[in-house]
Amino acid sequence: MIKKNTGWIIAGLTVLLLITAIYSATVGTADISFKEVILITLNEIPLINRYVTAPEGSSRTIVVLIRLPRIALGIIAGISLSVSGTSMQGIFKNPMASPFILGVSAGGGLGAAVGFYFGVSFYYLPLLAFSTAVSTVFLVFALGRVRKKTDIATLLLAGLAMNFLMSGLTSYIRYMSPPEKMVQMQILSFMLGNLNEAAWNQVHITLPIMIVGVGLVFAYSRDLNVIQMGEGSALQLGVDVERTKFVQLVTSSLLAATMVAFTGIIGFVGLMIPHGARLIVGPEHKRLIPTAALMGGIFLILCDTISRLMGEIPVGIITVLLGSPFFIYLLIRNRGDTGW
């Protein structure tokens, strides 16, 4: 395992993220070069734009108003979901945990389905999905409280139960909605996740949430390490176990709920990226969280670029199709050792 070079790994991944982002901005029906993208982007940044002259016209509009916000939202979603997944896997001490384990996806999905069914305005839909996602998590938390403590095993089962309940209701709405009104298609698209409707205002909302959320998860990263020794031992090593669980679970659920509200349910990123990151820097969360965050950003914009090249198919399809073979590879590699 590469450990001592974490600084270099993070620097390398940051550069890779930038290159992937710029590359992604060149891909699409309009032919825009690498150089043009860089100039247009730099021209958008205050102070620097004094020294840069960017090409005017449609290229600029396409890059600034369509491609860049989409890439930015992709990075934010990739980071949020990966960090959320890392945190969930840490708290559940289980590598199969995902950001959606507490019912965020099923809850958000139900809200979105209701919204589509009643034709709620485009602006309110994320709000609706966010509130149902958060309410579901809240219910799961209420069910998972045992004697004033959050019991992880009960929480897992409560999450499972709420996932089933919400998915069942969503399926009912899907089944009942008339095919000609496109509601079924809209719900399906939400369930698979996509970045099609990305806009700067979404970036403005999700970016601060991501920064605060990732910061909180990172702040409790050593506590997350010690909790791997067992909750009892963690307490005896001076960790406030209940507060750590609360901060990690609430923060990572909110991160996931925010992304679900704006991009739908992009699966697999939050489940798989933490594994990939763990293979590179090990399970120590101070190294793992930034590594997983950057890898998540890179992975999601790569997948979204492919999705654009394939004619705007939902990005969730690509993440699953690319992610599962990797997962199977991990499974074969680590067969017999369930802890990875």
Binding site: S233, G238, G339
Partner: protein, 420 residues
């Protein structure tokens, strides 16, 4: 360090269920204290309560006169380090990283380990001989190796008290002793206190200065190993018959369990057994296990029946080795005979030394007591008193209250039918 842990009237449990009641003991620095007791007696619960994993219902735990409940958990973690029985780690942390977690109570939220922490970790890993696999994943270690890493973690914590929660039970005998020796050294060199839960009584006897014996959530006995590890305590708490001997080399005690006491209900009836020369030993044990209160006599000291009686802690009229029955022993025996509900005479050899035992049987039968004779050997084969012996024997068997039994099983069966 002048640490002093004081547990006062501690009561706790899980949910509604009370597990420990009014537990009190002290642990001083420089002391190794053992906690023993059967499964479910509340040993591990005690550690959980003191370290704040479960709340204390009543009573208090003080360290250096400060209530341990009022200490911040980080402060408490700098005082008490715990080695649990098992540790399961799902992710491939390296051994070094796991030991470094012992430094958690010293590191601020955004603080990185410093040289001081590295040194503490390194020293702890050296002491536990784990340094050579410091870069290996703990998931690749054997159970014993991982446990030593966890011991190192507790050492790196540099606590003033170390609690071992059956920490050595999964280690092989070599590493068990090594770990306990290491603890003993720490106690001496750094004047820390060690509290260790033991299932292995000999390990407790060997290493602990003092022992607390728990039974069903209460302190059954506490004090030096000599005071606590007695046959009576072991019988009462573990339900075993055991021999407790002193190791001739270092004076420590060692316990050899002989057999589990059969848990029959204690009966009220008293059976007096007149035996000797090995004819009654097994019967004494069987009767005790069937729940009778058993007395015996007159037996010469060092006779094998007498040894059994002593082992079973029976009331016994004794005589000096290889001596004839004295007047005093004879009377003692007759008193026991009178106090008994039933008298059993075994097929002991009758000679001039113990003719009084045969007379005692006759006396019992004469006074209307039920007498059972165990006759596996005919009387004439074991009579070394000639006509005098035969005369007494004949008078004995002619009594209506006397019955003869051909085997011990017959005898026990006869008793169990309520013929007493």
């Amino acid at each position: 360090m002048v640490g002093y842990l004081e547990v006062k009237e501690l009561t706790t449990g899980y949910g509604e269920k009370e597990v420990l009641k009014n537990i009190s003991f002290d642990l001083k620095s420089g002391e190794m204290l053992g906690i023993i007791g059967p499964n479910g007696s509340g040993k591990s619960t005690l550690i959980k309560a003191i370290t704040g994993i479960i709340p204390i219902w009543s009573g208090e735990v003080n360290y250096d006169k400060k209530n341990i409940n009022e200490l911040h958990r980080r402060e408490r973690a700098r005082i008490i380090g715990v080695v649990p029985q098992d540790t399961f780690i799902n992710f491939p942390f390296t051994s070094w990283e796991v030991v470094m977690m012992g430094r958690n109570p010293y590191l601020g939220r955004f603080e990185n380990p410093k040289q001081k922490d590295d040194l503490a970790v390194k020293e702890a890993m050296k002491a536990t001989k784990t340094l050579r696999f410091k870069d290996r994943s703990v998931r690749e270690l054997s159970g014993g190796e991982l446990q030593r890493v966890v011991v190192a973690r507790a050492l790196a914590q540099e606590p003033e008290l170390i609690f071992l929660d059956e920490a050595t039970s999964h280690l092989d005998i070599g590493h068990k002793l090594e770990t306990m020796d290491l603890m003993k050294d720490r106690v001496k060199q750094r004047n820390i206190g060690v509290l260790s839960i033991h299932h292995n009584l000999n390990l407790a006897a060997r290493y602990c200065d003092n022992i607390v014996l728990l039974d069903e959530g209460k302190v059954h006995a506490k004090g030096s190993p000599k005071k606590v590890l007695t046959r009576a305590h072991l019988r009462a708490v573990y339900g075993i018959e055991a021999e407790v001997d002193e190791n001739p080399r270092d004076g420590s005690l060692y316990v050899t369990p002989i057999k589990r006491k059969v848990m029959t209900e204690d009966k009220e009836e008293v059976v007096h057994v007149i035996c000797g020369g090995g004819t009654g030993g097994t019967l004494l044990k069987e009767l005790v296990e069937h729940g009778y209160e058993v007395t015996t006599g007159v037996l010469n000291v060092m006779d094998s029946d007498q040894k059994m009686a002593e082992f079973l802690d029976l009331k016994c009229a004794t005589e000096a080795p290889f001596s004839s029955i004295s007047e005093q022993a004879k009377n003692e025996n007759l008193i026991l005979t009178e106090e008994a509900d039933l008298v059993v005479g075994t097929d002991f050899a009758v000679g001039p030394g113990n003719i009084d035992n045969l007379k005692a049987l006759l006396y019992a039968a004469g006074s209307g007591k039920d007498v059972l004779l165990l006759e596996r050997n005919e009387f004439r084969e074991r009579n070394h008193m000639g006509r005098k012996g035969k005369e007494i024997y004949d008078r004995l068997v002619s009594k209506t209250t006397v019955k003869t039994m051909a085997s011990m099983d017959d005898l026990l069966r006869y008793l169990s039918r309520g013929n007493i």
